[in-house]
């Protein structure tokens, strides 16, 4: 049913994504699909890398660990956003096309008041992506 599962990851908050990561891996095994871990970063230096190249190295290492631990085929993909605070969903929509994903499995928090002011990541993605989107509530 699915051939490529895209899993957006925030490398600074991996522990909160455990459920989404498990879910994506289970579905990959079930459908024989590949997983592509996607990270969004700014072009400016940040805690996860002093340039997009360093960030990508970390993402690559993460994808390697996941592949080894879960026995799935995994790749990685980095999207650069000029303003990562507000442009994550747009970057992920671009990524869906770039990696050729037919399913996105993404961790998201429970609904809360601030969502009325600025919607949680994933809302816009679900509304605009051509791929199926599975939003997994964080623990």
């Amino acid at each position: 049913m699915f051939k490529k599962i895209m899993v957006p990851v925030d490398l600074a908050r991996i522990e909160q994504l455990a459920k989404a990561l498990d879910c994506a891996a289970d579905m990959a095994v079930h459908y024989g699909a590949d997983i592509c871990y996607v990270g969004v970063t700014g072009a400016t230096p940040g805690p996860l890398g002093r340039n997009p190249g360093e960030y990508t190295e970390r993402l690559k290492a993460f994808a390697g660990e996941q592949a080894a631990a879960r026995g799935v085929n995994a790749s990685h993909h980095t999207e650069i956003a000029n303003d990562p605070t507000t442009e994550v969903d747009d970057a992920l929509i671009r990524a869906v096309g770039a990696v050729g994903a037919d399913l996105v499995v993404m961790g998201t928090h429970d609904p809360r008041f601030s969502d009325f002011l600025w919607p949680a990541n994933g809302i816009r993605l679900a509304g605009h992506s051509t791929a199926s989107v599975f939003l997994v509530r964080e623990d």
Partner: protein, 563 residues
């Protein structure tokens, strides 16, 4: 297993000379939630900046007379023991720009020469972001953003006023006015005064201010994109202070930058609301009152909030581009309505005059035209320099992928040419009107007989067809230029107070944007705008030293980059 290479960025960003520092970006940040709102702030820059700003607002309001006397001076006739021309008369701002005139002017000359040197030097080929980096923005969007943040609003207010004023009143380099006291034209003075009016204006809006911005922007872009340091003002000082920039030395640098940026924006917003109110009153007869001005500030802040929430591309860039289109349409309308042939002749006159007079105008010693030099030139230099942390950091953020040569050319040369065109069109049209009717022209009334900066543009438009329509467009432009300053300024402050992180939670930028509007309203209602604006301009002096140090840091950084 990881079976494929990275699919997003085709290449790493190529060779760049990353600085090997022990500091982890964000290590001093505090993350958490305040109710439903997340935050990720640098400790202690966020807190100290916020508290200092509140303290100075309190000082400006609670000790209003004291603050005004310190920064703007007092009336010597009303205060015993205060002589005319003494510090107590002129205040800190004028004192600094008068006593240190040689310093401001020499430094600005150095900045221009340094930038021109970089264009032709071998270091011009260094690419910001590493050898293989590609630009994040196309020319149109990039140029629109740097122009809208840099000086768009000033062009609206001074495009008419300055050329006319310098032609008829301030007499730069002693060039006499072509208008006699009885209002008649002195034909023998016209050509020289007309050329000097444009040249003296272009001098303030051409190479020098853009060189000031270019220095700060280049320093930050180089140390961020090539050296891997966080996007914050302190990073440019790494070659000077080394690892100490992560301690209190850096905290002070960043805090002063936040302080100058926020008060610069808030006081401009306050004065801008008064000016926009004057325009609305002129066009629509809306009363001039603090209520209208508070509504204007609230409206501008609300639109700026939407812009920052939509982000750099969806908000700030989009608004800047819209602004440039409207400004371009207004420019072309004035160009053709006032007579394209004569205006283009003014353009050539302006450029020729600028080239011929730039050296005498840049000379800081032996000048007798101190009214022009102190009242305008050094004031402008202090003003541009105090704004440079904000504009420079914003330009830096959107300039990755350009070579140093391309960067300087686009930040220095092209905006200067656009400013020449703008001044030639708006100033040239206004000068034509004044010379055609030196007594009855509305421009004469608002610039020469009276001194009314916000009305000068509308006065010139009155002398052209379709004034009621173009005046509305001008008001819209003024307001949108304020929005583009406000939103880009909020992003800059948010980034500095987040320790250089550009992915801090949204509520933080909402906080700074709202805070800026609130400070403007409080100062407008309490009457502290003048004192705090003078204080911000006074920060131009220490920042001049900072910029000189940045030149050295840039050179050191570029030399290392070339290996």
């Amino acid at each position: 297993m990881a079976d494929s290479p990275n699919q997003g960025i085709p290449e790493p960003e190529g060779t760049a000379d990353i600085i090997d520092t022990e500091y982890d970006i964000g290590q001093d940040n505090i993350e958490g939630h305040l109710g439903p709102f997340g935050f990720d702030i640098h400790n202690p820059v966020f807190m100290i900046s916020g508290l200092t700003i509140v303290a100075f607002v309190f000082y400006a309001l609670a000790f209003k007379e004291n603050a005004d006397a310190l920064f703007n001076g007092v009336d010597p006739a009303a205060v015993a023991g205060c002589e005319a021309g003494a510090f107590c008369d002129i205040g800190l701002r004028v004192w600094l720009t008068s006593v240190f005139d040689w310093f401001f002017m020499s430094a600005a000359n150095i900045f221009v020469l340094f930038c021109l040197f970089l264009i032709v030097s071998p270091w011009g080929s260094v690419r910001l972001g590493g050898a293989d980096a590609s630009p994040d923005y196309g020319y149109a969007g990039w140029f629109a953003m740097l122009f809208a943040a840099g000086m768009g609003i000033g062009l609206m207010f001074f495009g008419v006023l300055e050329p006319v004023y310098h032609m008829a009143v301030s007499q730069p380099l002693g060039v006499p006015s072509p208008i006699a006291e009885d209002g008649t034209i002195i034909a023998a003075n016209v050509d020289a005064a007309r050329q000097m009016g444009l040249a003296a204006t272009i001098y303030h809006w051409g190479l020098h201010p853009w060189a000031i911005y270019a220095i700060v922007a280049l320093a930050l872009a180089l140390f961020t994109f090539n050296k891997g340091l966080p996007l914050t003002i302190r990073s440019a000082f790494y070659p000077i202070f080394g690892e100490r920039i992560w301690g209190w030395t850096g905290h002070v640098i960043d805090t002063v930058a936040v302080f100058a940026t926020l008060f610069g924006l808030a006081t401009s917003l306050g004065f801008g609301a008064q000016q926009a109110n004057a325009g609305l009153s002129h066009v629509f007869g809306i009363p001039t009152s603090t209520t209208v001005q508070v509504i204007l500030i609230t409206g501008i802040t609300a639109v700026a909030l939407i812009s920052v929430l939509r982000g750099l591309d969806g908000g700030v860039k989009l608004l800047s581009e819209i602004n440039m289109v409207i400004a371009g349409l207004l420019l072309f309308f004035v160009l053709f309505a006032a007579g394209a042939a004569s205006i283009l002749s003014e353009f050539v006159t302006g450029i020729v005059g600028y080239v011929r007079e730039i050296l005498p105008l840049s000379n800081p010693v032996g000048r007798e035209d101190t009214a022009y030099m102190h009242g305008w030139t050094t004031f402008y230099w202090a003003w541009w320099i105090s704004w440079s942390p904000f504009v420079g950091m914003f330009i830096a953020r959107v300039s990755r992928g350009r070579t140093v040569r391309e960067f300087i050319t686009c930040v220095l040369i092209i905006p200067s040419i656009v400013c020449v065109l703008w001044m030639a069109v708006f100033g040239g049209a206004a000068i034509e009107q004044v010379l055609a009717d030196p007594v009855g022209s509305p421009v004469t009334a608002e610039v020469i007989a009276g001194y009314n900066p916000p009305m000068s543009l509308f006065a010139m438009l009155e002398g052209l067809p379709l004034a009621s329509i173009t005046s509305v467009i001008a008001i819209v432009l003024v307001i949108v230029f304020f929005v583009t300053s406000s939103d880009s300024g909020s992003l800059v402050i948010d980034t500095i107070t987040a320790g250089g992180k550009v992915d801090a939670p949204v509520p933080q930028r909402v906080f700074w944007c709202t805070f800026e509007g609130a400070v403007a309203i409080v100062l407008l209602l309490g009457g502290g705008l003048g004192a705090l604006q003078a204080m911000v301009i006074s920060t131009g002096l220490p920042f001049t030293i900072v910029l000189l140090l940045m030149c050295w840091a840039i050179m050191k950084g570029l030399i290392a980059e070339k290996g």
